[in-house]
Every structure is written in structure tokens, then in C-alpha cells.
């Protein structure tokens, strides 16, 4: 299979072609209002704009590092919007678009990248766990959380709960991800594994992780696997929605492979020119997740120029706001490094804190 990706087939769910033409699929369909179509477009543009702003902030030294979602907007917006309010998400460190679609303030993860905190939010309150940097570790957390849903009796109904676990193609080689597949399978846990196959684990291409298409791995674990066009927001929505609803109704896990492409670098510290050629990136530009939705909106007269201008203008305004808020994030006070190591505290740590406080105080008044 070439880097241009698989073509339309029963094993590759696509509802909107790169040209913005609707594609019929025997199993999957979407029913959106005009307003909802426009909303998806607005989400896609907004998360790309906020992402670009974060990249710029890193280039200007305001963030230590940034992991861009460029190219993966449809996978994130489609899956993120497919979740119901009671659902729980376990992200990697790149799910800014999912976070946005969950209605969470986009400033929240920026503390991590600026270096003023390490996450810092209540996973349960937001139904969105903190970013996880150790590759694949969160898939086990998602599975355990899903087992808890079953134990709480919250599966089997329309308002049942389900969990979505995000990870990338590289993570599929991790033991934790494979253990999560085993656990979720034998416990029939209400969890959906959403793999954004963006073709690269930093520099290593997909071929270094697998000899079989990733979605087929699910067969060996005993649950369904689906490959979806990760650059098609309609398809990622439909596939995720169905898998999550199956999970909440007690039908167990699904592996979704969202076939996409990381248009940018792994992070702002990476240089993709060392390991991939420009023509490959250009080929994927033709499959852009935003342009195809815009083409659809135009073709079906769901939006006019005024709408498109407003989307751009509003996103730009949000980006400016985000920038201002990042710049005003205060550095934490020195002694806060001792906070929250233990819920119940530690006398030894209290002693270290006192000693360091005294040390710092010894400089007061000196120049």
C-alpha cells in the first residue's frame, strides 16, 4: 500500500471524498442538520488555527515544546464530536482537537507545554483525562476505567457510558496497548481504541511497527477493527459514534484505525526533512480534511462567503485570546514543587520544604 493511502473499499470507511463528494457506505451514514455541518467546519478551522498559534508561541520561546495536530483535525473533531456527554476520553499529548470538542478551555493543556504545570486538571470533572506522554500507558487506564463502568452497572442502555482511548501507530507496538486489548476483550469492557495512524512514530514509518494493517490486529484479540479515512470528519464521526454506542450497550470494545497523516513535525523539536520526502507530504495535502468539508458546504449550498469569513475571523480572535492568556501564565512559586506529592502528605517532605524555604530566605535582603 502506497503512502497515498487506501482507496474506497468496504474495509476503508469514507463518507466524503477528498474532493468533497459524498460517498455511500453500506454500514455507515451521518444525519446532520445544516447547522451541524457548518459546526464541524468551524471546529476543524478553529482547532487548526489554535494549533498554529501554539506552534508560533513555541517558535517565539513562549512554549517549551508543542505537538501539532496539523493534518489530523478530522480524526479528532469527528471522534470528539461523536462522544456523548457521559463518555470519558483518555488522550495522548496531541489530542488538542478532541479536548476542544469536549468543550474544554484550550488553555488547559498549555501549562504543560509552557512548563508551568504538568497537566493539572480533574479528569473525572472534565470527562477528559490529563495528557499522557508515556506511549500507550493511557490505553490501560481507559480499559480499567471502562471496567469500572461495567462494575457500576452503567452499560446496557442508551444513556450508558463508554470510554475512548487515543493513541498512535507507534503505540501499537507497546506492551501496554496489547495488554489493554487483552483486558478489554476478556472483560468485554466498554472502550473504543481510537488509533490515529499518522504514518510516523517520530521518524519511523508504519512499516517499522507492523506487517498487517493495524485495524486487523483487533481480530486476534476477539473484537472488531475498522479502518476509516482519518481525514474525513463525517466518516470518523460515524464510525466512532457507532463503536461508542455499541460499547455503551454492552457489546464490548472496537479498534478504530483512523488513517491519516501527520502534516507537521512530531513536535517542534523534530525535523521531518531528515526522514521523509516533500512529494509525500504534497500527496497528502490533496487529502486535506478541511478543504473537502468546505467543498461540500459550497456544493450543497450549506454556507456562504459570509459564513466562511466569520469562521476565519472568529478563530483568529480565539487564537489571539489564547496567546494573551499563555503570555500571562505566571511561573509557579518555588516552594510549590513540594505540593501534592502525596494526598496525605509526608513528614520527610515537609522537612525538605522547610529547609529549602529557610535556604531561600537566607538570600532575602542580599543583592
Amino acid at each position: 500500500m502506497g503512502k497515498g493511502g487506501p482507496g474506497p473499499s468496504p474495509d476503508f470507511v469514507q463518507l466524503l471524498s477528498p474532493e468533497g463528494v459524498r460517498v455511500e457506505h453500506p454500514e455507515y451514514a451521518v444525519e446532520f442538520t445544516d447547522e451541524e455541518y457548518r459546526g464541524l467546519y468551524r471546529d476543524l478551522v478553529t482547532v487548526r488555527k489554535l494549533d498554529a498559534e501554539a506552534t508560533a508561541l513555541q517558535r517565539q520561546g513562549e512554549l517549551g515544546i508543542w505537538a501539532s495536530l496539523l493534518g489530523q483535525e478530522a480524526a479528532q473533531v469527528g471522534s470528539g464530536r461523536a462522544l456523548r456527554p457521559q463518555d470519558m476520553a483518555f488522550p495522548t499529548y496531541r489530542e488538542h482537537g478532541v479536548l476542544y470538542c469536549r468543550g474544554i478551555d484550550p488553555i488547559m493543556p498549555l501549562g504543560l507545554f509552557r512548563g508551568v504545570d504538568q497537566g493539572g486538571w480533574d479528569s473525572q470533572a472534565y470527562k477528559f483525562h490529563m495528557y499522557t506522554i508515556v506511549i500507550g500507558a493511557q490505553t490501560l487506564h481507559a480499559t480499567g476505567y471502562a471496567m469500572g463502568i461495567t462494575m457500576d452497572g452503567k452499560v446496557g442502555t442508551d444513556d450508558g457510558e463508554a470510554v475512548i482511548a487515543y493513541f498512535g501507530d507507534g503505540a501499537t507496538s507497546q506492551g501496554d496497548v496489547n495488554e489493554a486489548f487483552v483486558w478489554s476483550s476478556v472483560f468485554n469492557a466498554p472502550v473504543v481504541f481510537f488509533c490515529q495512524n499518522n504514518q510516523y512514530a517520530i521518524s519511523e514509518p508504519l512499516e517499522r511497527q507492523t506487517r498487517v494493517p493495524l485495524y486487523q490486529r483487533a481480530n486476534g484479540f476477539g473484537f472488531p477493527g475498522v479502518r476509516v479515512d482519518g481525514n474525513d470528519v463525517l466518516a470518523t464521526y460515524a464510525v466512532t459514534r457507532k463503536a461508542m454506542d455499541q460499547a455503551r450497550h454492552g457489546q464490548g470494545p472496537t479498534l478504530i484505525e483512523a488513517y491519516t497523516y501527520r502534516m507537521g513535525a512530531h513536535t517542534t523539536s523534530d525535523d521531518p526533512s531528515r526522514y521523509r520526502i516533500a512529494s509525500e507530504v504534497e500527496a497528502w495535502q490533496a487529502r486535506d480534511p478541511i478543504l473537502r468539508v468546505r467543498a461540500l458546504l459550497v456544493r450543497e449550498q450549506l454556507a456562504d462567503d459570509e459564513f466562511f469569513a466569520d469562521v476565519d475571523e472568529t478563530a483568529a480572535k480565539q487564537a489571539v485570546e489564547l496567546r494573551e492568556r499563555v503570555l500571562s501564565m505566571p511561573d509557579p512559586a518555588p516552594l510549590t514543587i513540594f505540593d501534592n506529592v502525596y494526598p496525605e502528605g509526608s513528614p520527610h517532605l515537609d522537612e525538605q520544604r522547610e529547609q529549602y524555604a529557610a535556604y531561600l530566605a537566607s538570600f532575602e535582603g542580599s543583592h
Binding site: F90, D117, Q118, G119, G120, W121, D122, S123, Q124, A125, H129, M130, T132, V134, A137, T139, L140, H141, A142, T143, G144, Y145, A146, M147, G148, I149, M151, D152, G175, D176, E179, A180, V182, W183, V186, D339, N340, V341, Y342, P343, E344, S346, P347, H348, L349
Partner: protein, 325 residues
């Protein structure tokens, strides 16, 4: 209510009481259900509390701890059994990078009240990977609390205290002492989870130890008494945080300190104790702090494990040497 039970049975009774007290408490691990665990510590619990609360897991340690993290986020209080000390390492990443750091990373908003039970130490004639003492790895990790029980009464109470604690606790059980009997008082805990305890008073040398070596040190103190030497024995009970107040108080009286454990000596719990005792009791010491430990080798084949394990004679030899300075 006072009764005499083995240390293993005391743990079983403590786990049972924890399951009764809070329906969010669940037990998970390999063979903990029908079999009751390879050491029978969870014997009968699945029968009485059901398969959803006493869970036989797939055979993967990282999976046990990783799913326990998710269950904890959901509001459960998982008690995980690692079958043997030498099998904890596949879970090391989940313990060190996830369990230990989650509360810190979240700014105090996410708690992971997990207990990880690990039978540890040698002396049972086992094959390799079944006799290790990995406590220093965990005690070196901020965010984890680490304890070791040594007697049935402590086993009964400390496991319950660890489960009700909101901190993640690595709970070491001295497997060679599982079958040793002692009295438990089911009405009242004899101390806090992270408090050390003077088990025997003496004026000549302070022995500091924990876990399976507590019995060895008490026996050494009895033998020393016949030679006219009076040894004080302190059971640390908590390895992280260390409660060294009673140790300092003791060493200031005795002027001599010997630290005993099964784990290798280099960068070990005894190294930490020696450093802190030296710092806090410098002017009281009549001799350097000495250590009696396993050697800096992998745990040896079982037919020679008695050479590796500290015993009464090696402890008394070190006690003698503290008088040679």
C-alpha cells in the same frame, strides 16, 4: 478480641475486613480468585465477595497496575497482588510513571488510592525471581509510600490502613514469615501506618530493620543477652517515608547502630538510614553505622541462599565489630 493466627491468615482477615468496610475496595491479580492466591492470602474472598470484587486478571503485571489506575480514576480502591517480587518489573513503568505521579501532575485533583501487595524476600528455597527484595526501587520514587509488615498484628492492621490511605502504597509482605504465628488484636490498631516501633529495649547497640529480618534481629537480641549485651530492636515498618525519630533517640543512648535487611547494600534502605543517623546523631556515635545485608549479587540459587541471607550470626558479628572502633 485477641487471637493467634499466622501472618498470612492475618492478611487474609485484614483484606476481608477492608472489603466489608468499603464496597469500592476491589482485589485484583493473578490467581487471587478461585485459587486464593499462590500463598492463599486471598483465600475464600472471591467466594464471599464475588468475581467483580476479587478479580482474576490476565497474566500481565503492567495490565494489572494500568487498569487499576483507571479503576482508581473511576473511584475504586484497587488492591493489586503481584504474585512474586521478581515479577513486579513489567509493571514498573505504570507504578513509577503513572501511579506515583498522577496526584502531583494533576495539582492534587486526581487521587490514585492503590495498594500493591508484593510478597518479598528469600528463605523459602524458591527458584530465581521468587526471592528478591526490590523495596529500594520504590522507596526511591517520590509519590509512593512503601511499607513492610513483620508480624501478624501489623499485617492485619497495616493492610487495612494502606487500603484506607489515599496515597498509593507498595505493601511488602515477608513471604518466609507467612506461616509464623502471633497474636492479633482485632479491636484496636497498635500504631499508625508510617510509624516505626521499638520492639525490644536495650542499651548497648541499636538494631534497625524491617520485614523478614525483624524476627532475625529479635533472635539476635535474645542470643546477645546471653553474652551480656543488650540490643535495642527497631522495626521501621515504613520504608517511605522513614520514621527515624525513634532510631535517633535510641542511637543517642546506645552510640552504636547496625542496619539489617535482605536487599543488597549498595544504594539501599540501609544506606539511607546510615546517612541520616550519621547526620542526626554524629556526636553520639561511638562507631560508624554498620550494615548487614544481602550481597551485591543477583539473588543466588536456593541451595546457597542461607549464605546470602543475613542471619543471627552475621548480625551478632556486626554488633561485635561496632565495639572495635
Amino acid at each position: 478480641m485477641s487471637e493467634t493466627v499466622t501472618l498470612g491468615k492475618a492478611l487474609n482477615l485484614g483484606l476481608r475486613r477492608a472489603l466489608e468496610a468499603d464496597d469500592k475496595v476491589i482485589i485484583m491479580g493473578e490467581d487471587v480468585g478461585k485459587l486464593g492466591g499462590v500463598f492463599r492470602i486471598t483465600d475464600g474472598l472471591q467466594k464471599d465477595f464475588g468475581e467483580e470484587r476479587v478479580i482474576d486478571t490476565p497474566l500481565a503485571e503492567s495490565g494489572i497496575i494500568g487498569t487499576a489506575v483507571g479503576l482508581a480514576i473511576r473511584g475504586y480502591r484497587p488492591v493489586c497482588e503481584i504474585q512474586f517480587d521478581g515479577f513486579v518489573y513489567p509493571a514498573y513503568d505504570q507504578i513509577v510513571s503513572q501511579v506515583a505521579k498522577m496526584h502531583y501532575r494533576s495539582g492534587g485533583k486526581v487521587r490514585i488510592p492503590i495498594v500493591i501487595r508484593i510478597p518479598f524476600g528469600g528463605g523459602i528455597g524458591a527458584v530465581e525471581h521468587h526471592s528478591e527484595s526490590p523495596e529500594a526501587y520504590f522507596a526511591h520514587t517520590p509519590g509512593l509510600k512503601v511499607v513492610a509488615c513483620a508480624s501478624p498484628d501489623d499485617a492485619y492492621w497495616m493492610i487495612q490502613q494502606a487500603i484506607t490511605s489515599d496515597d498509593p502504597v507498595i505493601f511488602f509482605e515477608p513471604k518466609r514469615r507467612y506461616w509464623e504465628k502471633g497474636q492479633i488484636n482485632r479491636d484496636e490498631a497498635s500504631g499508625a501506618l508510617h510509624a516505626s516501633r521499638v520492639l525490644r529495649s536495650g542499651g548497648d547497640v541499636t538494631l534497625v530493620t524491617y520485614g523478614p529480618m525483624v524476627r532475625t534481629c529479635l533472635d539476635a537480641a535474645t542470643a546477645a543477652e546471653e553474652d551480656g549485651r543488650s540490643l535495642e530492636v527497631v522495626d521501621l515498618r515504613s520504608i517511605s517515608p522513614l520514621d527515624l525519630g525513634p532510631v535517633y533517640e535510641s542511637v543517642r543512648r546506645t552510640g552504636r547502630c547496625v542496619v539489617v535487611h535482605e536487599a543488597p547494600s549498595t544504594i539501599s534502605v540501609s544506606a539511607e538510614v546510615a546517612a541520616r543517623v550519621t547526620e542526626h546523631c554524629f556526636y553520639s556515635l561511638e562507631s560508624p553505622v554498620l550494615r548487614v545485608t544481602g550481597f551485591d549479587t543477583p539473588y543466588p540459587a536456593s541451595r546457597v541462599e542461607e549464605e546470602y541471607l543475613p542471619d543471627l550470626d552475621r548480625v551478632l558479628d556486626a554488633v561485635d565489630r561496632t565495639f572495635g572502633f
